[in-house]
């Protein structure tokens, strides 16, 4: 069988080669490092497109390549790669966004003193992310999972000379680590129960009832904990907005399109496990739903353009989780579909935001305004991104969001449906608030007045993404769900279809109309407040200031964590440090003191006076002679 899939392992390898080259010759390459990275990522994109096309055209069987990696006793731990519907799609998304972001970064990072290092990190991240996607077993997933986390840490802390960036990098690493521990425990549990790390084996074992239901639920929830850490789901979302301290292309690539979607991908990839446990699915659904509305309400009041986008990312990831959580084939398709469209339009929004920041050197939206005349392309693509995320037809966000709403509706989960609609309303509102504040109105500062359009290396990727943000939705139209049918034709899809016999239902026209009306309401309100300014934008903050403050301060989550975790652990740390100082240290001191005391006595004996030595020798002689004679050592007198 000669297929492109056989060579899919090359996809992550190319960025790794780029990484190695830049690592070795970064100093000599200087800004040429960008071309190396772009070239190799382009090769990856080409290869993943071919792979995707082959699968899409033929609907071929999943391709699994496996070889023995470790042999521990009777256990054989394999390593390899797997190509199925889901990760073929992910490969394309990751390589596309990565390539565009790398092209964009050439303009954005121009003149940076650590330019090759930046590309080195980007290449390493791309490798790790692609490796994560094609991993056939949980162990490999975990390895790459940690690797993307490490890359995220490095890139968030890229401006390590800024204290906030350093703190944000640490926070990103530590908070996601909490989730990673959950994932690790889940992997251990599953290995203990099934004796394998491979997705296939685990699914088979679960299907055959070899795993206790309680263990299934527990491990599924723990996997979700790991996914929540990476995908910024409540209560582990706090790192994601702070991670905006990194360079904007990084935010676009890692914290919008790829790595944060890895959590969603993980849940989707291990979906058969979740299906076996309704409780776990409920947890996913409600945490996702809560995160969606929760983050959306915070996004309304933020002043930092990137933070608004970050909260919007959190909210959208909540949407995906909710879609997966309500389960059913429709939920699965909707979740992954939204993952794809979101990757494009959110990357677009971030890149556009980066373009604005590049021009005006501030991130505060209230210091922008009137930029649409000076930066027409950026303004235009940002508007497309906003329309897409707000869910206005025919942009891609509409189709995927409508799909999610339909899936929720078809499962009869009206509580979640209301949450989703509220969140959609908020999303539309804050995205257009952002748009009006940034691009419309009058320029408020000198920097804004002097702003000019970004170079073509930055606008070109944005334009490509804008096109993708428009057309990506057509891949899965309600009456012609190409993507859905294709996804369902895969092994995992088949499995889901068996469990959920009902058709991927659609709520009919009225649901679509409602969704659009809600979006338009949000846009309209934003227009009235920030575009036409006929409604005072201070209406809420003046009437119910506590509500405004609650949202502006992000529900005080960071403060609560500070009190509950940081302070309490610091208190515990103090206690332990006291224990360490007085008990452990005391023992240590006692040991040292004893040794010193013995040494002191000995050194007092070592007076250096010959006569003292002589006395000691005499005593020794007497004792020796006495003991020898009395104990019968030497017979004498016979």
């Amino acid at each position: 069988m000669d297929t492109m899939m056989q060579y899919a392992w090359l996809v992550p390898l190319f960025p790794l080669i780029a990484f190695a080259i830049i690592l070795s010759f970064g100093r000599q390459l200087k800004e040429g490092a960008a071309y190396i990275s772009i070239l190799f990522t382009g090769a990856s994109l080409l290869l993943s497109l071919l792979t995707f096309w082959e699968r899409f055209k033929d609907g071929a069987q999943d391709y699994v390549f496996s070889m023995t990696w470790l042999k521990v006793g009777d256990y054989v731990i394999p390593a390899g790669f797997e190509i199925n519907q889901l990760n073929a799609m992910m490969l394309v998304i990751v390589t596309t966004v990565s390539l565009l972001v790398q092209i964009y970064s050439r303009g954005y990072m121009h003149g940076d003193s650590r330019f090759p290092v930046f590309y080195q990190y980007l290449a390493l991240f791309t490798f790790a992310m692609l490796g994560l996607v094609i991993s056939p077993n949980l162990l490999q997933v975990y390895i790459f999972w940690e690797l993307v986390g490490a890359c995220s840490f490095l890139l968030v802390g890229y401006y390590f000379f800024k204290p906030q960036a350093k703190a944000a990098a640490k926070k990103a690493f530590i908070v996601t680590r909490i989730g990673d521990v959950g994932l690790f425990i889940a992997i251990c549990l599953l290995f203990w129960q099934t004796g394998s790390f491979a997705f296939e084996d685990i699914f088979t074992a679960v299907e055959n009832g070899k795993v206790e239901p309680a263990i299934i639920t527990l491990s599924a929830i723990l996997i979700f904990v790991g996914a929540a850490g990476k995908s910024g789901q409540f209560p582990l979302h706090t790192w994601l907005p702070d991670a905006m301290e990194g360079p904007t292309p990084v935010s676009a690539l890692i914290h919008a399109a790829t790595m944060v979607a890895a959590g969603v991908y993980l849940v989707a990839a291990s979906f058969p496990l979740f299906i076996a446990s309704p409780e776990a699915l409920n947890v996913v659904a409600y945490v996702g739903g809560f995160t969606a509305i929760f983050a959306a309400t915070i996004g309304i009041t933020q002043r930092d353009i990137k933070r608004v986008l970050a909260y919007s990312t959190v909210s959208q990831l909540g949407f995906m989780m909710m879609a997966l959580g309500v389960a059913g084939a429709a939920g699965y398709v909707a979740g992954t579909f939204h993952l794809m469209t979101h990757a494009f339009f959110k990357a677009l929004l971030f890149l556009a935001a980066g373009s604005v920041i590049h021009a005006v050197h501030t991130q505060d939206v209230f210091q922008m305004g009137g930029l649409s005349k000076r930066m027409p392309i950026t303004s235009f693509v940002f508007l497309i991104g906003c329309l897409a995320i707000a869910g206005v037809p025919p942009f891609s966000g509409f189709w995927s969001k409508e799909e999610i709403l339909a899936a929720i509706f078809s499962q009869g989960r009206f509580d979640l449906l209301i949450i989703a609609m509220l969140a959609a309303f908020c999303t539309a509102f804050y995205m257009f608030r952002l748009y009006y504040l940034t691009f419309k109105g009058e320029a408020t500062t000198e920097a804004t007045k002097k702003a000019h359009e970004s170079p073509s290396t930055m606008t070109l990727p944005m334009l490509i993404l804008a096109v993708l943000a428009i057309i990506a939705g057509f891949i899965n139209l309600p009456n012609n769900p190409i993507l859905g049918n294709w996804l369902m034709s895969g092994t995992v899809g088949q499995y889901i279809m068996e469990r959920y016999t009902e058709e991927a239902g659609h709520g009919g026209v009225w649901l679509q109309v409602t969704a659009v009306v809600i979006s338009l309401l949000g846009i309209g309100l934003a227009y009235l407040m920030y575009g036409k300014k006929s409604v005072s934008s201070d209406i809420i903050s003046e009437q119910v200031p506590w509500l405004y403050r609650l949202s502006y301060r992000k529900y005080y989550i960071d403060e609560i964590y500070d009190v509950v975790f940081v302070r309490s652990f610091r208190g515990l740390g103090h206690l332990l440090s006291l224990f360490d100082r007085y008990v452990v240290g005391g023992i240590g001191f006692l040991v040292g003191w004893t040794a010193r005391a013995i040494g002191g006595v000995n050194s007092r004996l070592q007076t250096g006076q010959l006569q003292m030595f002589g006395l000691v020798v005499l005593m020794g002689l007497v004792i020796l002679v006495v003991s020898l004679t009395t104990l019968g050592g030497v017979p004498y007198g016979q």
Binding site: S603, Q609, G614, L615
Partner: protein
């Protein structure tokens, strides 16, 4: 009947003990050297006594004594030389102050 050997040994023992006591307690280095000479002499008495009354009475004992004397003479000569040198450097012959071994 001559004087019994144990009498000579007793005298030698007392002499040895007095010499030992002096060597360990006296502060003047010259006195310490003298005490050591006493101890050597005590040994000499033993050697000569055994050369007359020993199990294998032989002239060897007396020859050993002569060797001991020679060595003792050499020892005293070098010892006094060391003392003079030390005195020149440290202005003392007090044994208690000679504690460089400590370092």
């Amino acid at each position: 009947m001559d004087v019994h050997i144990s009498s000579y040994l007793l005298v030698a023992l007392i002499l040895f003990c007095v010499g030992l006591f002096g060597a360990l307690t006296k502060r003047n280095a010259i006195v310490v050297l003298l005490s050591i000479e006493l101890m050597l002499n005590a040994v000499n008495i033993n050697l000569v006594a055994f050369s007359k009354y020993g199990v294998n009475a032989a002239i060897s004992g007396q020859i050993f004594t002569l060797f001991t004397m020679t060595v003792a003479a050499a020892e005293v000569a070098v010892g006094i030389a060391i003392l003079i040198s030390l005195y020149r450097n440290r202005d003392t012959v007090n044994v208690d102050e000679m504690d460089q071994l400590k370092d």
